[in-house]
């Protein structure tokens, strides 16, 4: 009798646990795989793959529109941004983008998107509601890449890989405001949480340039260096800024590590081992989990930011590019 009691109790407990874990379904990870033209959808809690969905031809950068529940995905070879409904996980529409969109950003008010057109040395401004191109800003440097809205939504900072500059534009008027010479082959940018600084990775410089977001002057340069890794292997690409504003996580490409930087002192606190050609990065709201894409090992690494170590890895599609976490 006692035995049966235990069985019943444990069954109830088990069911309750399942229920609880279902209720605490906290979020979803989206990975764009540019080699296999699809998007891997992963449950953030269980770290299991929920689905693999169509992403268009060569899906790269992605952004989430919270209000609409739409995931926007740049499909570089289709020359569009696909709109994916996160409930049905189906493509429900497209935005015009001009040629070869790679990286884009959405204004904080969610009204416009700005995308870099690598082959045409242009940036295209798109009205998200009408899904049409508003204007094209020409001559933003050769091979424009990183696109980042300033937190106030007034300006966009664009990196130019060949011209080695950051070009600051007003997307609302379509004007180039300023151009700043940074390190070699600038890739992506990110603002600190307080909006006072703009950080940009220099892939071939092995460094990060930090600009004052108001005066556009370079106020500091962080050069990465780690014993046992050749300097030329250190090729920084993407950022994840912690939500508490204290840390920046920077993926170092061929060096297979993620650098952890103190955003106040600019000191490199640690280097965390990840996969081969680590580039995309995103962090959870509670700052506890960092997820990075490893372009050359076709997987993602799950990093525990307290332990500062990779605790898991998940095989995804071919050449994973961008990771976004929706919580």
């Amino acid at each position: 009798m006692k035995k049966i009691n235990v069985i019943i109790k444990s069954t109830i407990l088990f069911l309750a646990l399942i229920f609880l874990s279902y209720k605490s379904f906290a979020g979803v990870i989206y990975i764009s795989n540019e080699g296999s033209d699809n998007i891997t959808v992963i449950d953030l809690n269980t770290l299991t793959i929920i689905d693999t969905i169509e992403g268009g031809d060569r899906p790269r950068d992605m952004h989430y529109l919270k209000e609409q529940g739409h995931l926007l995905v740049a499909a570089s070879e289709d020359d569009i941004i696909n709109i994916i409904d996160v409930n049905s996980l189906k493509i429900i529409g497209t935005l015009e983008t001009g040629d070869d969109p790679e990286i884009f950003d959405i204004s904080p008010d969610g009204n416009i998107a700005v995308v870099s057109n690598e082959d045409d040395n242009e940036a295209t401004v798109i009205d998200i509601k009408t899904r049409k191109i508003l204007r094209v800003i020409e001559d933003v440097g050769i091979e424009p890449e990183g696109v980042t809205f300033s937190p106030d939504g007034k300006l966009v900072f664009i990196t130019s890989e060949v011209t080695n500059t950051v070009i600051i534009i007003d997307p609302w008027k379509g004007e180039i405001i300023e151009e700043v010479l940074v390190g070699n082959r600038p890739r992506r940018g990110a603002f600190t949480q307080d909006g006072s600084e703009y950080w940009v990775t220099n892939e071939l410089g092995g460094s990060v340039s930090i600009l004052n977001a108001k005066t556009f002057e370079i106020i500091h340069t962080i050069v990465f260096s780690k014993k046992g890794i050749r300097d030329e292997e250190i090729t920084p690409v993407d950022f994840a800024m912690s939500n508490d504003g204290t840390k920046a996580y920077i993926t170092l490409g061929r060096a297979k590590h993620v650098a952890v930087v103190d955003t106040n002192s600019y000191e490199v606190i640690d280097y965390i081992l990840a996969g081969s050609r680590v580039w995309g990065a995103a962090i959870t709201k509670d700052d506890k989990t960092l997820i990075v894409t490893n372009g050359q090992s076709d997987d993602i690494s799950i990093i525990d930011t307290d332990k500062r170590a990779s605790v898991n890895s998940i095989a995804v599609g071919r050449t994973p590019h961008t990771v976004r976490i929706v919580e």
Binding site: G141, E179, L181
Partner: protein, 401 residues
């Protein structure tokens, strides 16, 4: 009210005109580019018969096309460099007096740096003649080893890789594949011999065994069958690979799949070590291919890549190292430890100070694919792995520092 409005508009308009004039008021920065009028390397019909069928109508093969793309690509640097770049090209017929011709052209046009697409003999004439001008030369097509060794010059910078870099790359690949026994087929030209000698040095360095070296001849003379018939040329020995040096590639195209032993063919045919290949898909290379093909309607060859990089190196040096008075010493800048540039093929590139050779990765490629990149993984150097290919500070006999 209306009048005031009009005046205001006029003032703004004049102001804008003034501003745009000012923007164009930058001093000119002239880059000289020299090649030969009749250069057999780019002859109209191609040197070997395969070109006649596969490359008709595309007679404009000269690498100046890469410099033209380079000029377009460095125009945006003008905002930062505060100069206007100009490319002044000259094709020279009189190779006898090439030194004087270029010397005068430099002085007459206030040229600050020159790019040369010249074979060794002409190149050395120019280097000697212009040495008192203290102007830097950027060699984009001559791969000869000696001009990076005993015949080097402190103002002569090599963008194109040396033969030794190319043969080292192949030797690394063969060694990595454990295809260690190699038969060498050497052509009749001096340049062919230089390549084969370079390969022998590479073989020694990377532990390959040269089983034999044979001379080939192009032709059908039955009395020279041992030199023009592949069955004879590649018979009797045991080998894993055949290295063939054939500068004009008239003979070597027949060699792959036609050797007596089942063997990989490398060198001038089969697997070829190149500075650049159109099939490369990584490190931003497709963007460069795309821009070049849209501009010239043909594929970008190695020399085109080199002249494109040369232009970018000039702009990069100016933007980061120029003094206030617009003067720049390229010879010093190029070997500055902070000077480096992206070449859209992986790591940052800079010059070896001991012989002015641009460090770079090499694409080991078939006709339509980059099979491997040298240096291969596992070949490590004390300072920079890129220095596992080509002449090291110790092996180069260049004494300029």
């Amino acid at each position: 009210m209306n009048l005031i409005y009009k005046i205001l508009i006029n003032i703004i308009f004049i102001g804008l005109t003034f501003f745009s004039l000012q923007a164009n008021d930058n001093p000119k920065f002239n880059i000289g580019y020299y090649d030969l009028e009749n250069d057999i390397r780019y002859s109209e019909w191609g040197i070997h018969p395969v070109d006649i069928r596969s490359d008709t109508n595309k007679t404009y093969k000269k690498p100046v096309a890469g410099a033209e793309l380079g000029l377009k690509d460095i125009k945006p640097f003008q905002r930062m460099a505060k100069v206007n770049f100009e490319l002044l090209t000259k094709s020279i017929k009189d190779t006898e007096n090439i030194g004087e011709i270029i010397y005068n052209h430099i002085l007459e046009n206030n040229i600050k740096i020159i790019i040369t697409d010249l074979p060794k003999n002409e190149l050395l004439k120019v280097v000697t003649k212009v040495s008192d001008l203290n102007i830097s030369l950027m060699n984009i097509s001559e791969r000869d080893n000696s001009i990076r060794s005993e015949q080097c010059h402190e103002n002569l910078f090599h963008i194109i890789p040396s033969n030794r870099m190319l043969t080292d790359s192949l030797a690394q690949y063969l060694s990595d594949k454990k295809w260690r026994k190699v038969l060498i087929l050497t052509g009749p030209l001096k340049e062919d011999e230089e390549k084969s000698n370079s390969f022998k040095e590479s073989a020694k360095q990377f532990g390959l065994k040269v089983v034999d070296e044979r001379k080939f001849l192009l032709g059908n003379d039955p009395r020279a069958r041992d030199q023009n018939d592949l069955d004879f040329l590649t018979g009797s020995n045991k080998y894993d690979a055949v290295y063939i040096s054939d500068t004009h590639r008239e003979f070597s195209y027949k060699v792959p799949f036609a050797t007596q032993q089942p063997a990989a063919v490398v060198g001038s045919a089969g697997l070829i070590a190149r500075a650049w290949h159109w099939s490369y898909l990584r490190h931003g290379a497709p963007q460069v291919h795309g821009r070049f093909e849209r501009m010239h309607n043909r594929r970008m060859t190695e020399e085109n890549w080199a002249s494109w990089v040369a232009m970018r190196m000039v702009a990069e040096a100016l933007v980061r190292f120029k003094k206030d008075d617009n003067e720049i010493n390229f010879s010093k800048t190029f070997i500055d430890s902070n000077y480096k540039i992206g070449g859209s093929k992986g790591p940052a590139l800079n010059f070896r100070p001991w012989n002015r050779q641009l460090r770079q990765t090499i694409m080991i490629s078939s006709e339509n694919w980059v099979t491997s990149i040298a240096p291969l993984e596992g070949f490590v150097h004390r300072d920079n792995n890129l220095d596992t290919i080509g002449m090291d500070a110790k092996t180069s006999k260049c004494n300029i520092n």
